[in-house]
Symmetry: C2
Subunit: 468 residues, 2 copies
C-alpha cells in the first residue's frame, strides 16, 4: 500500500511547497511529489496521512558519531575532570570506553541514537572503534560490540552505517597506551572482522564502511590495505584527519608530509573518502581533497567543545568540496547548531557576515541544510537526505507554530529553521515512511532512559567495577 503524507509545507527541490504531498510506496521509497490536484486522483488503496500545521523536511544525516561518548557529556568541562586540552579530555573518554560491557554498550548507544532521532536524524555513521574485552582479548565473536551498536540503532529505528575502525598504535614513536587496549587489531584481524560484518549487514537499514582511525593510529601501509578492501566492495572510507595541530606535526615527523598530502600520495583519497574534521589543512591540501572529490565531515559542536579550532569552511566550499556534519563526541546532538556554527565561527573570526552565502550561486541556509542532509547521505553511501522520487522516505516534521520559528512565510522559513529553530519544534520523525517519533515522543523512550541511567550510575559512581 502506498501512503501520501500531506503537510502544510513540503521541502523539496530546494524550497517549501505549499499543498504538496509526499507519496511513499510500500517499500518505504518515495514514489513522487504530488500537488493538491494530483492528490485527488490517487489509487483507492492509498493511505492519506494529513500533517496539518507542519512542514516536512528530509531527515538529518549524522556522518560521524561515537555513540558511547554520550556518557561523558557534562563530565569533562572543568579542569579537574577533562583538563585543559584535547589530549587530557581523551583520558576521560577512555575511562568511559574502558568499563562498558556489551550490554552497556548497547544501552548507551541506544540513548545516543534516541536523542538523534528526537533531533530529526534518520541516518547515523557510527565510527566504531571499541572492539575487544577490557583486557585486550577478542570477544568470542570479534564483532560483538559492532553488533550491539547496530542493534541499538535498529531498536531505535534509525539507519546506520557501521564504520568499523582500525586502530593499531598510540602513535609514531609512542609507547602503547593502556586506554587503547580495547581498540587494537592487526590489519589481518581487522580485514577478517570487517569482511564478516559486511557479509552480515549490507541492507539499506544497516551497512558497513571502513574507518582507519587516523594517520596517528594506523600506519600508512595499513591505511592503504584497508582502503583497497573498501574500494573492492564499494564501501565508504572515513578517517580522522588533522583535527589537532599535534597530530599534523607527528605525521610530518614520521612521514615528512602533512596528513592530507600523505593520503593523497598513497591514493587513499577518493570520492568514497570522508576526512573528518580537516581543520588544520593548508590551501594545497584543500586542492587535493577537491581533486579527489572527497567529503569533509565537520563537527562544529564537538570542535568548539574540544578546542580544536575553526574549520576553514569558506576556502573549502570555494573549491566545491562537499561538507557534511557529525555529532562526534555527543557534547550536544543538535544538527542545526552544527549547521549554523559552520558559518558563525567564521563570522566570529573575520568580523563579517554571510561568509558562506552565494558560493556557486547557492543561498546560505539552503547550502547549510544540504550539508546536514544530502551531503551526509553521499558520504555514507545511501539514498536519503532529499525528498525526491527514488530516495528513501526519511523525514521529520516541524510544528510551524513552535515559538522559535513561528511567523515565517514559505520563502523565509528555511533560514529561520537553520539559524533559529530549537529542537522543541521537531514533532515527528519517519524512516522509510514509518514513524518512529510521533508528537515528540519515541515509544521506547522511558525504557531507553532508564537503562541508560543504570549504566551512567555504574560507570561514574562505581568505576572500580571492571567490564565483564
Amino acid at each position: 500500500m502506498t501512503t501520501l503524507f500531506q503537510p502544510d509545507l513540503l521541502f523539496t527541490g530546494g524550497h517549501f511547497q505549499a499543498g504538496a504531498g509526499l507519496l511513499v510506496d510500500a517499500g518505504g521509497t518515495i514514489a513522487g511529489i504530488k500537488n493538491a490536484a494530483q492528490a485527488t486522483v490517487l489509487a483507492a488503496d492509498t493511505q492519506i496521512v494529513r500533517l496539518p500545521g507542519k512542514a516536512l523536511l528530509p531527515g538529518f544525516v549524522n556522518v560521524h558519531s561515537h555513540a558511547f561518548q554520550r556518557l561523558i557529556r557534562g563530565r569533562t568541562e572543568a579542569r579537574r575532570s577533562g583538563g585543559h586540552d584535547f589530549w587530557s579530555w581523551r583520558g576521560e573518554m577512555y575511562h568511559a570506553a574502558a568499563s562498558l560491557t556489551p550490554e552497556e554498550m548497547y544501552r548507551v548507544a541506544r540513548m545516543a541514537f534516541l536523542e538523534m532521532a528526537l533531533a530529526g536524524t534518520t541516518t547515523v555513521g557510527e565510527f566504531h572503534y571499541v572492539h575487544r574485552l577490557p583486557d585486550g582479548q577478542p570477544y568470542p565473536d570479534p564483532n560483538l560490540l559492532a553488533h550491539q551498536v547496530i542493534a541499538a540503532a535498529q531498536s531505535v529505528g534509525i539507519r546506520i552505517a557501521l564504520l568499523r575502525a582500525a586502530y593499531q598504535r598510540a602513535g609514531y614513536e609512542l609507547p602503547p597506551d593502556p586506554g587503547q587496549t580495547r581498540f587494537l587489531e592487526t590489519t589481518e584481524e581487522f580485514l577478517t572482522n570487517v569482511d564478516a560484518l559486511h557479509r552480515q549487514y549490507h541492507s539499506t537499514e544497516a551497512w558497513v564502511g571502513v574507518a582507519p582511525h587516523s594517520v596517528r593510529a594506523v600506519p600508512i601501509e595499513a591505511v592503504r590495505e584497508i582502503t583497497a578492501w573498501a574500494h573492492e566492495h564499494r564501501l565508504p572510507v572515513h578517517m580522522h584527519v588533522s583535527e589537532q595541530v599535534a597530530e599534523v606535526e607527528a605525521c610530518q615527523r614520521e612521514y615528512g608530509v602533512t596528513p592530507v598530502r600523505l593520503l593523497a600520495q598513497h591514493r587513499v583519497l577518493s570520492e568514497r573518502f570522508t576526512a573528518v574534521h580537516a581543520i588544520h589543512i593548508d590551501q594545497e591540501e584543500m586542492d587535493m581533497l577537491a581533486a579527489s572529490r572527497a567529503t569533509i565531515c565537520s563537527c562544529p559542536t564537538t570542535e568548539r567543545n574540544l578546542g580544536d579550532g575553526i574549520f576553514p569552511a569558506r576556502e573549502v566550499m570555494d573549491r566545491g568540496i562537499s561538507i557534511a556534519f557529525g555529532s562526534d563526541s555527543q557534547a550536544q546532538i543538535e544538527p542545526l547548531e552544527d549547521a549554523r556554527e559552520l558559518e558563525y565561527h567564521l563570522r566570529l573570526q573575520r568580523q563579517q557576515r554571510s561568509l558562506l552565502d552565494g558560493i556557486d550561486g547557492q543561498e546560505l541556509s539552503l547550502r547549510l541544510f544540504r550539508c546536514a542532509t544530502a551531503n551526509g547521505a553521499a558520504a555514507l553511501g545511501c539514498a536519503t537526505g532529499e525528498l525526491e522520487a527514488g530516495k528513501q522516505a526519511d523525514f521529520f516534521t516541524v510544528d510551524l507554530d513552535d515559538v522559535s520559528i513561528a511567523g515565517n512565510s514559505d520563502e523565509d522559513l528555511l533560514p529561520a529553521i537553520v539559524f533559529g529553530m530549537n529542537r522543541s519544534a521537531i514533532a515527528d520523525v519517519a524512516i522509510g515512511g514509518k514513524f518512529l517519533v510521533r508528537d515528540h515522543r519515541h515509544p521506547q523512550q522511558q525504557e531507553i532512559l532508564k537503562e541508560y541511567q543504570e549504566v551512567a550510575r555504574k560507570v561514574w559512581h562505581a568505576p572500580q567495577l571492571a567490564a565483564k
Copy 2:
C-alpha cells in the same frame, strides 16, 4: 498563604540539594529552604506543590533585549537580505522598526517575551529605543511605546526593567539617518519622558533604567547628564560599548580616546553601569571597568550572528568583572547557549579547554550559570537570580529525564545543564512563586503566536503600509 515547592533537586547555594523544598511566602518572596524533616512541621496552611522528576533552578535574567528584533530572525542571513556586515544588517533591522504601530510593537514584544519565558527567563532588561511616530513626531504620550513593551512583559508574566534609551544622532560627523527617525529625542525630552515613566513604574514587576544608546549615538555631555539623573534615582545605566571596531575608531576621532576611557574620564562608570558587548576593549579599559565595579553584558548568540568578534572573557573574569548575558537581537533566545559560548568561543580561538574554569576558585559551569542569573539580577537592580531567603521566588524546573540531560547525578547535573541541555527540558516557569509556564505551555501561547504572525505577515509582505 505560604507554598512549599518540592522538586527532586533544588539548586541553592551553588549546588543541587536532594529533598529540599523552596518555601515561598504569600508575597512571592522566598521564606527559606526546608529539608525533608523541616518540611513535615510546616504551618497547617502551607500549600505543598510536589514536582517529582524535576530539578528547580533560579530563573534566567536576560539583561539586554531588543524585543522588536524578533521580527528579523532568519531574515538577514543571506547577502541579499542583511548583507555582509553589522552595518548592512542594521538597515534591515531599521526596516522592521520603521513600520510597527503601537499595537504591533506590543504583539512582537509579547512574542519575544513568550519565548524567553519558555526558555526559563523570568526577568528581562529591555533596551528600548523606538519612541516616536514613523514621521519623527512624538506620540501624544511620548512613552506610549515603552508602555506597550512593559504591558507585553506583564501580559506574559515576566519582570521587566525598561531601560529607556537615549538616541540623539547617527554618529560623529554623520548626516541624519532616516532609519533612526523614531529613536531621536533631545536630552531634555528624554529626561522628561524617563522621569514620567519612572514615576509610573517602580515596582518589582516593572521598573525603569536609563540607556544612553552608545557614545556614537549620544554625545558625552548628554551621557553625563542622563547618568546623573539615574544616579539621583539609584537606577541602572546601560550602554552599548565597543561592539564594533568602527565605533571605537569613530570615538577616537571625535574624542581622542576609546569609549571606555571616555566613559571613565567622565565618571559615567559605576557599579550601576552595564557595558553591553565590550568586545573591542584593551587591558587598561578592563582595569577601568573593574575599578568602577561595572558589569559587562555579553551577548554571544547575537555577537556570533553579527560577526562582532570574540569577547575576551578570560581577561575580564581575571579582573573580577561581573559578566551577565543578553539575547539582544533575538537571533536565538537560548540563555544556556549564551552561557556556553562565553567559554566555547575562547576554546575555538585558543585551542585549549576549560579556559574560564577555576578563576577565584569557581568551577566553570557554576560560574557561567551565575552569569546567566545572579549577575544579571545585579545588573538590572532586582532581588532575583538566586534561590535564597529574601529573594523573589523566580524559578524554572527541568525534566530530569529529558534526553539531553538524563543520566547525570546531583554532582554533575549543573555542567550537563550548562553545556548540553536543550530547551525541551524546561517544564515549568514561575515568577514570585506563581506558575506562568506549566508543563511546557504558556496559557496564552496560541493567541500570542497568532497575533505575532499577523504582524510578521504585514511587515514582510506589505512593507509599503506605513505605521499608523
